[in-house]
């Protein structure tokens, strides 16, 4: 089960509200390569992982991604704090205000709502771990685009922390992939039990 800690993993600060940037960074909340996608993808893939190391890595990274989702939510909250409908309109985000007021919603930077189509689970540990590594790279690239799209040094600091975590997660997934491949090479029973024999 999960337990909530009433704090963020890393501080989230903004120099001043910036609705225009909120509209962009929301993609890391509910976009294809965002933190919700990441968290659900990893926590859901745990059940078909063959080694303890893989089960632990997916559990722990999936859990950390939930904390990152919370950081992005806090960032969007601060970027839109006190913003008027006119400010949403000027930022090209009037639709967000009309539908959600100051509430958050899982969309990408183009307003497309989150979809389970963003994530996969094939039940094959190699396939799924390779997807996870690709996901970390896609998130890293998105954070680089976002860092380039803001001038706020405090926002850049928060995004750089999240960017760095993608790099570490990619590394850990790579190590997990290696160990699962090694395990599959040794385990005789992996492909036994039916038509799937290779």
């Amino acid at each position: 089960m999960w337990v909530y800690e009433k704090k963020l993993e890393h501080p989230v600060r903004v120099t001043c509200p910036d609705v225009k940037f909120a509209k962009l960074v929301i993609t890391q909340y509910g976009g294809p390569d965002g933190e919700l996608s990441a968290s659900l993808r990893y926590l859901n893939q745990r059940y078909s992982m063959p080694t303890n190391n893989a089960k632990a890595v997916l559990t722990d990274i999936g859990t950390e991604e939930m904390a990152h989702m919370e950081m992005i939510a806090a960032l969007v909250y601060k970027l839109t704090e006190g913003a008027s409908p006119a400010e949403y309109e000027a930022a090209g985000w009037a639709g967000q205000w009309v539908q959600h007021d100051h509430g958050l919603f899982w969309t990408d930077a183009n307003g497309i709502p989150w979809s389970a189509k963003y994530i996969a689970c094939l039940g094959d540990p190699i396939t799924d771990l390779v997807e996870d590594m690709a996901a970390e790279q896609k998130a890293r690239t998105t954070y680089e685009h976002l860092i380039a799209a803001t001038d706020d040094p405090l926002v850049k600091g928060t995004l750089r922390f999240l960017w760095e975590r993608e790099v570490v997660h990619f590394q850990r997934f790579g190590e997990t992939l290696n160990s699962v491949q090694e395990w599959m090479g040794k385990a005789k029973h992996v492909w036994e039990g039916g038509a799937m024999e290779k």
């Binding site: 089960m1 337990v3 745990r46 059940y47 303890n52 190391n53 089960k55 632990a56 559990t59 722990d60 859990t63």
Partner: protein, 83 residues
């Protein structure tokens, strides 16, 4: 390792944790209820004791807890869906 004993202790933790969760939710909407608060504090105290007992014997239930001095025992089976 005595798995039966471990499962028994885990069951006690689940029970006491559920008491704490119920009181937690109740207190969220009744923050000034003294009886509720006393019950909650009592449940937390019992839960802490059970958790310490479990951790000393089998390692922490939390990732950020004690998992051995010689080897990282966190990754060891059984995982919750395997119990």
């Amino acid at each position: 390792m005595n798995v039966e004993k471990q499962m028994r202790l885990l069951r006690q933790i689940q029970e006491m944790e559920f008491v704490a969760i119920e009181l937690n939710l109740y207190l969220d909407t009744h923050p000034c209820d003294q009886d509720g608060l006393n019950d909650y504090n009592c449940a937390i105290e019992k839960l802490d004791k059970l958790m310490s007992e479990y951790t000393a014997e089998y390692g922490s239930l939390l990732a950020q807890g004690f998992h051995g001095c010689k080897k990282w025992l966190w990754i060891e089976q059984p995982w919750p869906w395997e119990m």
